[in-house]
C-alpha cells in the first residue's frame, strides 16, 4: 500500500476506535507535533460526517416518497369506499388534529398555522380525488390504479434514489455459474449463416441483407491497413424463432427488458477483424411492418452467462451551436461538443463531463482578460463548468478544480464565462434539456497579451457585460429556427446528390433508421413498459443447468432469468397479466428435452413441463413462435 493510503488507514482506525491503547497513545502524541496529520484527521472526520449526512438525506427523500405513495393509496382507498366529499372531511380532520396538537405546544404560532394555505391545498387534494372517482366509474379499477400511480411516480422521479435501484440491478446480475446459457447439442436447430459482402472501403457503400436490412457505410469508415477491399459479414435476426435458437435475448446489462425491432451482427475483416475508425458511424435501416416510436441503437456484448446483453449507445458527440443574437456576433456554428469519458479499466471511476469543444474554449480564451501578473504565475490549469439552461442562458458558472493556477485567474475566467452568448442546449426527444459543460483552460505565457491594468480591466469587463446585455434573449423559436436552417442545408445537400426515387422514399418510411459507431451486435430497440405495476416472473425447478427464456407476446422481447433463488428461476419484472411463452431446454443422459407452453404472468410460480426434443416438436415451436404478432 502507498504511504498516503497507509496514513488514511491509520487515521480511520483511530476514528473508528480500532486502535489498541498503546497505538492510540502513540497516535495522539504524534498529532501534537504533526500539523499536517492533524489537518488530515480533521478532513477525514468531516468527510465521514458528510457521508453520514448524505445518507440521511437520501433516506429522508425515500421516506418522503413512501409517505407520498402511502397517501396516494389512502386517497384512492377512501375514494372507492366513501364519496369524494366524505373523504375531504376525513383528510381535513386528520390535518386539523395535527395542527391543534402543535398549536397547544407553541401558543405564539397560532396565527401562522391558520392561514389560507391549508384550505387552498385541501381543495387541490379534493380535485385530485374527484378525478380518481370518475375514472373508477369506468369499471376498470385495476387500470385506474396503475395509471394513478404512474402519474404520481413520474412526478417523483427526481426524488427517488436511482442509485439504490442501480445497486439492486448489479446485485441481481452477479455472475451465476448456474445460469450459463447454451443450447443443447441438437442437429435440427436452424443455423443462421453469415452473408458475406466484399466492398471497396475507400468509397461509400450500401449493402442490403436477405431480410432487407440496409446498411450504409461511409467512405474510409474502417481502420484498414493498406488495401481498400474489406469483407463484411452479416447476420440478421427478425423472426422470434431465429432469435431464440441463436440464444439471443432482449435485455439490457442491468436486467431491463427492451423491445426489439430487429438485430444484426455485422463484422468486417481484412484478414483480421476490423473496427470502425474513430468518429465514423454506419447507418442501419431496419425494415418494419408497423412502426413503433422511440427505437434507438443498442449495442450488444456477451456477459458472464454467455448471452448477448444490450446497452444503449451513448451519444458521443452532440452538435451545439451559439445563437447569433447580434450582428456583431461572429461565432461559427456547428461545434462538436460534450463527450462522456468513461475511460479504460484503471480509470473506470472517472465518469465526468469533458468537452471537446474547441470553439467555446477559444471564445473564453479570446475574451478573457487578466490583471497584471508575473510571467511565473501564468501556469497551471482551471476546470470551469457552467450550465446551459433550456432557454440558452448560462448559469451556475463555477470553477471545479484547478492545478497551480493563480486564484485571481479563476475569478476572471468565471466573469468571462458568465457573459457567454446564449448557447443552444442539448436536444433529446424534441426537448431542449439543461446541459452541463466543463472546459479546461490551460494558462501559459501567451496570456501575457491579455493582461490589463486596473481601470482598463474594469472597463473591459463593463463593456463586455454591456455588449452581452444588448443581445436579445434566445427563445425556443430561435433554437428551432437554427434547426430548420440546418435541416434545409441537409436537404439541399441531399438534393444536390440526386433526388430520392419513389422507391427510396417509400422504403424510408417503412424502416427504422439508426446510427452506430460500433460494429458487432447491433439492436434496434426501445424501452417498452412504464416502470410500475410489475413483478418478477418465477419458474420453480430443482435442476440448475436449464437454458430457459420467456418470449413476450405484447411486445417483441425475449428475456432470460437473472438469478436463481430457492429453486426458482427468477426472470426480470413483467407487467401483471402479460401473456408469455415459456421455453426451456435441458439435457439428461445425453437425451434432450424441451418445455414449451404459453401462460400469463399471474404472480404465481410456474413449472417447466419437459418432453423429449424432436424435430417435429421443434418445428411446432418454430411455427408457434413466429405466429406471435407484436
Amino acid at each position: 500500500m502507498r504511504k498516503e493510503l497507509q496514513e488514511i488507514e491509520i487515521i480511520e482506525n483511530y476514528l473508528l476506535g480500532k486502535m489498541s491503547a498503546n497505538e492510540k497513545a502513540d497516535f495522539e502524541k504524534q498529532l501534537e507535533t504533526d500539523a499536517s496529520l492533524k489537518q488530515n484527521l480533521e478532513m477525514q472526520k468531516s468527510l465521514i460526517d458528510g457521508l453520514q449526512r448524505m445518507g440521511l438525506k437520501n433516506d429522508l427523500l425515500s421516506a418522503k416518497r413512501s409517505l407520498f405513495m402511502r397517501k396516494v393509496w389512502t386517497w384512492f382507498g377512501a375514494a372507492v369506499l366513501l364519496t369524494a366529499i366524505a373523504f375531504g372531511i376525513y383528510y381535513n380532520s386528520e390535518k386539523e388534529e395535527l395542527v391543534e396538537k402543535v398549536e397547544k405546544e407553541i401558543n405564539d404560532e397560532r396565527a401562522e398555522i391558520k392561514d389560507k394555505g391549508v384550505k387552498n391545498k385541501d381543495k387541490g387534494l379534493r380535485t385530485k380525488v374527484d378525478s380518481v372517482v370518475i375514472m373508477s366509474d369506468s369499471r376498470n379499477e385495476e387500470k385506474v390504479r396503475d395509471e394513478g400511480l404512474t402519474t404520481k411516480e413520474d412526478s417523483l422521479v427526481m426524488l427517488s434514489d436511482s442509485r439504490s435501484e442501480k445497486m439492486k440491478a448489479q446485485v441481481a446480475l452477479r455472475s451465476n455459474g448456474a445460469l450459463e446459457k447454451s443450447l443443447p447439442d441438437f442437429a435440427e436447430f436452424p443455423v443462421k449463416g453469415f452473408q458475406t459482402f466484399k466492398i471497396n472501403s475507400s468509397k461509400a457503400n450500401t449493402i442490403t441483407g436477405n431480410e432487407r436490412t440496409i446498411i450504409e457505410i461511409p467512405a474510409n469508415a474502417f481502420e484498414t491497413k493498406s488495401e481498400a477491399m474489406v469483407e463484411l459479414k452479416l447476420q440478421e435476426f427478425y423472426k422470434l424463432s431465429d432469435m431464440v435458437f441463436a440464444n439471443l435475448t432482449t435485455q439490457t446489462k442491468d436486467g431491463q427488458l427492451i423491445e426489439t425491432g430487429g438485430m444484426v451482427n455485422i463484422e468486417a475483416y481484412q484478414g483480421a477483424k476490423l473496427k470502425l475508425a474513430e468518429g465514423k458511424s454506419i447507418t442501419l435501416k431496419f425494415p418494419f411492418e408497423e412502426k413503433k416510436e422511440g427505437m434507438k441503437t443498442f449495442l450488444g456484448d456477451k456477459d458472464e452467462r454467455g448471452i448477448v446483453v444490450w446497452k444503449e449507445q451513448e451519444i458521443q458527440y452532440q452538435k451545439v451551436e451559439y445563437i447569433h443574437t447580434t450582428a456583431k456576433d461572429t461565432f461559427s456554428s456547428d461545434i462538436q461538443f460534450i463527450s462522456i469519458r468513461i475511460g479504460d479499466e484503471s480509470d473506470r471511476m472517472e465518469k465526468m463531463f469533458a468537452t471537446r469543444d474547441e470553439d467555446v474554449k477559444e471564445y473564453l480564451i479570446d475574451h478573457l482578460r487578466l490583471p497584471k501578473l508575473s510571467l511565473k504565475e501564468l501556469k497551471g490549469f482551471i476546470y470551469i463548468s457552467f450550465v446551459v439552461q433550456s432557454d440558452g442562458k448560462i448559469s451556475a458558472t463555477e470553477v471545479n478544480s484547478a492545478g497551480n493556477a493563480p486564484v485571481i485567474a479563476y475569478e476572471y475566467l468565471k466573469k468571462t464565462a458568465a457573459e457567454l452568448p446564449p448557447i443552444v442546449p442539448y436536444r433529446k426527444n424534441d426537448k431542449y434539456l439543461i446541459t452541463q459543460f466543463e472546459i479546461r483552460v490551460d494558462l501559459n505565457k501567451n496570456f501575457e497579451s491579455k493582461m490589463l491594468g486596473g481601470e482598463d480591466l474594469q472597463e473591459y469587463y463593463d463593456n463586455l457585460r454591456r455588449e452581452r446585455s444588448k443581445m436579445k434573449e434566445a427563445s425556443k423559436e430561435d433554437f428551432d429556427k437554427k434547426l430548420e436552417v440546418r435541416n434545409d442545408q441537409i436537404a439541399t445537400s441531399l438534393e444536390e446528390g440526386g433526388l430520392l426515387t419513389e422507391d427510396q422514399l417509400r422504403s424510408q418510411t417503412s424502416q427504422y433508421i439508426l446510427n452506430s459507431t460500433n460494429l458487432g451486435w447491433i439492436n434496434c430497440d426501445r424501452y417498452p413498459f412504464a416502470k410500475n405495476g410489475k413483478s418478477s416472473f418465477n419458474v420453480f425447478e430443482r435442476d440448475k443447468g436449464i437454458n430457459c427464456s420467456l418470449i413476450l407476446h405484447s411486445v417483441r422481447g425475449i428475456v432470460s432469468p437473472t438469478y436463481i433463488k430457492q429453486g426458482n428461476y427468477i426472470f426480470p419484472q413483467l407487467p401483471n397479466k402479460e401473456l408469455v411463452s415459456v421455453l426451456a431446454f435441458k439435457t439428461e443422459d445425453k437425451k434432450n428435452y424441451v418445455s414449451y407452453y404459453q401462460t400469463s404472468h399471474n404472480k404465481e410460480s410456474h413449472e417447466f413441463e419437459f418432453e423429449p426434443l424432436t424435430k417435429e416438436k421443434l418445428q411446432q415451436i418454430t411455427i408457434e413462435l413466429n405466429a406471435i404478432r407484436n
Binding site: 465521514i48 438525506k57 429522508l60 421516506a63 405546544e105 405564539d108 398555522i113 442509485r163 446485485v171 470553477v399
Partner: protein
C-alpha cells in the same frame, strides 16, 4: 406513533420507518416557512435540515425529549429559517422566537451544517462508485466483504484498498476546493 417509539427506532437503526413518521410533520413547517417569505423548496431544505439535527440529537444516549418531537422539529426549523434570513440580511419578523433551551447549541449546529454543504459537493465529485462504496461503509455500516459483493469487486482486499483510494480522492478534491475558496 408514540414519540418514544420513534426515538427507539432511530437508535436501533430502523431509520426508514421513523423517517416516514417524522416526514408527516412537513406540511406545518412548510406553512411556517412560506408565511415567512420562503418558497416550498426552501421549506423542504429547512425541514430536512431540522430532521437531520433532530436525528443526530436523538441518537445520543443522553438525549431526553422535553417536548413532543413535532414541537422540537418545528422549533429547530423555525430557528434555522430565522438564521437563514439573518444571513440574507432580512428581518424574520417583529416577534421574538420563544425561549427554547437549546438555542445556543443550535447556532453551533447550524454552523456545522453549512460546512457540510461544501463536503457534500466534494463527495458528489468523486464518482458514483466511490461514493457508493463510502456510503455503504460509513453510513450503512456494511462489512467490506459485503461491500465487495454489492459493488462487484473481486475481493474484500480490493474493496478495502478502493475505499482508501476513494477517501484519498475526496481529500484531494476538498483541498482543491479550499484553495479556490480561500
Amino acid at each position: 406513533m408514540n414519540d418514544q417509539r420513534i426515538i427507539q427506532q432511530l437508535r436501533t437503526g430502523k431509520r426508514e420507518k421513523a423517517f416516514i413518521q417524522l416526514y408527516k410533520g412537513f406540511p406545518i413547517v412548510k406553512k411556517l416557512i412560506e408565511s415567512k417569505g420562503g418558497t416550498s423548496v426552501e421549506a423542504e431544505d429547512v425541514f430536512q435540515e431540522a430532521l437531520i439535527i433532530f436525528y443526530k440529537k436523538a441518537i445520543q444516549p443522553e438525549f431526553e425529549l422535553t417536548a413532543s418531537i413535532s414541537t422540537y422539529v418545528y422549533s429547530v426549523a423555525r430557528f434555522l429559517w430565522k438564521d437563514e434570513m439573518k444571513k440574507k440580511g432580512l428581518k424574520y419578523g417583529t416577534e421574538e422566537v420563544g425561549n427554547i433551551k437549546f438555542e445556543s447549541e443550535l447556532e453551533e449546529i447550524a454552523q456545522k451544517e453549512k460546512k457540510f454543504q461544501v463536503v457534500e459537493e466534494v463527495l458528489k465529485s468523486i464518482g458514483e462508485k466511490c461514493l457508493e462504496i463510502l456510503q455503504l461503509f460509513y453510513y450503512r455500516g456494511l462489512s467490506m466483504k459485503e461491500i465487495a459483493r454489492q459493488v462487484d469487486l473481486k475481493s474484500e482486499k480490493v474493496a478495502k484498498n478502493q475505499k482508501y483510494k476513494c477517501l484519498e480522492r475526496a481529500r484531494k478534491r476538498a483541498l482543491e476546493k479550499q484553495t479556490i475558496n480561500a
